[in-house]
């Protein structure tokens, strides 16, 4: 065995012993991802069901009653009848109803001439839910018209690929895994290296014959394994507890996850190369990697809808590529072109950060 290899082995062994004796790294790699996965997995959902709707039906005919009756059958609504618009408006103001449906007394007569109106008021404060409710109602209205035997003219046949049940959790959870792994990977190396500086053990290490690149390799190997263990647990939890389908190949998933873990660890090392204090390193990791991964990776907010300048900004965020890959692998399968393209960007960023680390950290004590 060459001396360099022997030194690296020794460093890795030392690091493993440290992990076992001081469980804070295990907490970051294993406990924290599971904690966050539970919070996000149960807390973040965009599926609005059983939306409380106030119904005011002044019309007496069968058609109007059929429209309202259909709402009771739908899982999207939980309708309640109110006697007058004034009462319904009160319910809206108090927040007991998200929307009001009003069918006026002259409805049947107007409908005969094709001028019937079903009036809907939605509470627009939560714009996204309001849009979804509006969409559900349009769908319901279309169904109702079909039952009336109306010639629709144009008939839309939507087909939603990859997520036929339209369950938001299916695409949110892969994204959440990417966000969590960003935090885990960066925190692991950022905190550990900063700790060595704080305790003065880095100086001790530097006085030995090891080179700085050996120190870096010796850090990356154990924390890479630890981080990947956290990643594996998260995938298992998403798959079995949250029932997210995993369509793509497991090997491809493993390969891109390894690549991303490297990128995250490199970001952590980069942070630790200019802050030798655990406290500041931790804060920097949260602000510069976790928050951007949350906000700008497209895991919940669509990148297409952001202002152009912010869209450019998302290109330097590794999580963006990982989120795309994970969502594709989980839901769409092995779309090789897309996965490889994003993996190349990810690898590029990982190499970039590692280069910065190598440049920034010389064997010196400042």
């Amino acid at each position: 065995m060459s001396p360099a290899l022997r030194r690296i082995c020794a460093l890795v062994r030392k690091e493993f012993l440290q992990v076992i004796r001081d469980p804070s790294s295990i907490a970051i790699a294993i406990v924290q991802p599971l904690f966050l996965l539970f919070i996000f997995g149960y807390g973040i959902s965009l599926d609005a069901t059983h939306v409380p709707v106030a119904c005011v039906v002044d019309a007496t005919g069968l058609n109007a009653r059929e429209f309202i009756g259909g709402l009771y059958q739908s899982q999207y609504f939980s309708p309640r009848i109110y006697g007058s618009m004034a009462e319904a408006e009160q319910a809206m103001i108090k927040g007991d109803a998200m929307a009001t449906i009003w069918i006026r007394s002259d409805f049947e007569r107007q409908a005969m001439t094709g001028n019937g109106k079903i009036e809907v008021i939605v509470n627009g404060v939560d714009a996204n839910t309001a849009r979804l409710v509006q969409g559900y109602l349009i769908g319901h209205w279309g169904q109702w018209l079909l039952k009336q035997g109306a010639a629709m003219g144009l008939e839309l046949k939507p087909r939603i690929w990859f997520n036929a049940e339209v369950r938001s959790r299916n695409y949110l959870l892969p994204g959440i895994i990417a966000v969590i792994m960003t935090l885990t990977g960066t925190l692991l190396t950022a905190m550990v290296v900063a700790r060595e500086w704080e305790r003065g053990t880095m100086e001790a290490l530097l006085s030995t014959p090891v080179t700085i690149s050996e120190v870096i390799v010796g850090k990356v190997i154990p924390y890479f394994l630890l981080g990947m263990a956290g990643m594996g647990l998260s995938v298992l939890t998403a798959r079995w507890l949250f029932q997210v389908p995993l369509v793509g190949s497991h090997w491809l998933l493993l390969a891109v996850s390894c690549l991303y873990m490297l990128a995250a660890l490199a970001m952590g090392l980069f942070i630790s190369s200019f802050s030798k204090n655990q406290f500041i390193a931790g804060q920097l990791a949260i602000i510069t990697t976790y928050l951007p991964a949350f906000m700008l990776s497209g895991f919940i907010f669509d990148i297409h809808s952001m202002p152009t300048v912010i869209q450019w900004l998302t290109h330097i965020i590794p999580a963006r590529y990982f989120v795309t890959i994970l969502q594709t692998l989980f839901l769409a399968g092995d779309v090789h072109g897309l996965v490889i393209k994003n993996a190349v960007y990810m690898a590029g960023l990982a190499a970039f950060f590692l280069l910065l680390v190598a440049r920034n950290s010389r064997k010196r004590l400042d």
Binding site: L36, I39, Y42, G142, G282, I310, V335
Partner: protein
């Protein structure tokens, strides 16, 4: 020395400790502003320029007229015109387009003679929220197209139309929903940071023991530690309220006092949590960890980005202990719904209760820690 002179002295000392350090001053002002800008612009569920492709097998007058309606819409951007059906798969798989409009042959003749011309819409459901919203837009365009056709030919058209209006946020802009929430989010982050580290810092420096041997009782200590956090929280909150109104143009329709009463109770409850964390933590690092452990669930389970109503029952119950949840109701009601104090009494009361409990517990823990 009377009690109040002692408390005031402690407050002055706290302010000096927080503001003396240049780095600390910057972290109080810089990151919140950057976060406001990024959150304010990036956190949107609105659809803009959804890339789509067209596969028109009919190429008739009617199909072109139908497709022209999409080209005029802000929400869509046409990126491809397809010649073969197998191109659809490739475009959607690689995310070059979010949806494909497929018009089968005989569209025009079926539309005019049989009255049921199918149009296939293939949507990438990887992001199901975007998919649903895009489908809604397509639905709206299709409905108005049908109506227009019927009118032109003097036909009766569908029996009834759906007329939708939105209260409080007529154009359904996400920004109006998210940005007022940021007032609460950033007030929470800053207040929590200031308080969660305050006692831990003293403990690290060993000055907490010195404080304990002064004639100050835990109550005075509590007041002295609360006021700086409160002042900083209210100050930071006010800056963000101003930016929300004047930079982002979100209307402030309700009463400002109603907002400030909410902000006051909210800050107090967060200070209580922060001081509790701080009195447990032995080091600043533990304080930071505790703050993070509180903050992540507090933000996620508050309704800040996604509604509480969508969460599982049990989790919804759990949110009742979250002060941020109540403050979000207050800001959104005051900003958009124009609410006054009378509609917000429940929220005030819940936040005040959380504040009293946490502050009281924190004070108890100061004492316990003396031994």
């Amino acid at each position: 020395m009377t009690m109040w002179t002692r408390v005031i002295a402690l407050i002055i000392k706290e302010f000096l400790a927080i503001l003396r350090d240049r780095k600390a001053r910057i972290t109080l002002i810089g990151p919140p502003i950057v976060q406001l800008i990024i959150f304010g612009y990036a956190a949107t569920f609105d659809l803009k320029e959804v890339p789509y492709a067209v596969y028109d097998e009919d190429s008739s007058l009617a199909s072109r007229e139908f497709l022209a309606r999409f080209e005029g819409a802000n929400a869509f951007r046409k990126v491809a015109v397809l010649q073969k059906e197998d191109e659809i798969r490739q475009l959607i798989d690689t995310q070059q387009v979010l949806l494909v409009l497929h018009i089968p042959p005989r569209f025009q003749s079926r539309l005019t003679r049989e009255g049921n011309a199918p149009v296939q819409v293939i949507i990438d459901g990887r992001n199901s929220n975007t998919a649903m919203l895009a489908l809604n837009y397509v639905n709206e365009i299709a409905a108005s197209f049908t109506l227009n056709m019927a009118r032109q030919k003097g036909l009766r058209g569908p029996a009834a139309q759906l007329v939708v209006r939105a209260w409080y946020n007529p154009n359904l802009e996400s920004q109006w929903f998210i940005v007022p929430g940021i007032v609460g989010l950033l007030t929470m982050v800053v207040t929590l940071m200031v308080t969660a580290l305050s006692i831990a810092r003293e403990r690290e420096a060993g000055t907490f023991d010195q404080l304990l041997v002064t004639p100050m009782n835990p109550f005075e200590l509590l007041v002295g530690k609360t006021v700086p956090g409160l002042v900083i929280g209210l100050f930071e909150g006010s800056i963000i309220v101003l930016l929300t109104v004047f930079w982002f143009g979100v209307p402030l329709r309700g009463s400002v006092p109603a907002l400030y009463i909410g902000l006051l109770f909210f800050s107090l409850s967060i200070i209580g949590v922060g001081l509790m964390i701080s009195s447990i933590a032995a080091t600043q690092q533990q304080g930071l960890l505790g703050a993070f452990l509180f903050m992540v669930p507090a933000v996620t389970l508050s309704g800040f980005a996604t509604p509480i109503a969508n969460m599982p029952e049990i989790v919804q119950k759990f949110t009742l202990f979250n002060p941020f949840r109540y403050f979000l109701v207050v800001v959104r009601k005051v900003f958009l719904e124009g609410a006054g104090m009378e509609l917000l009494l429940t929220e005030y009361l819940c936040m005040a209760a959380i504040g009293v409990v946490t502050l009281f517990t924190a004070a108890l823990m100061f004492r316990r820690r003396m031994y």
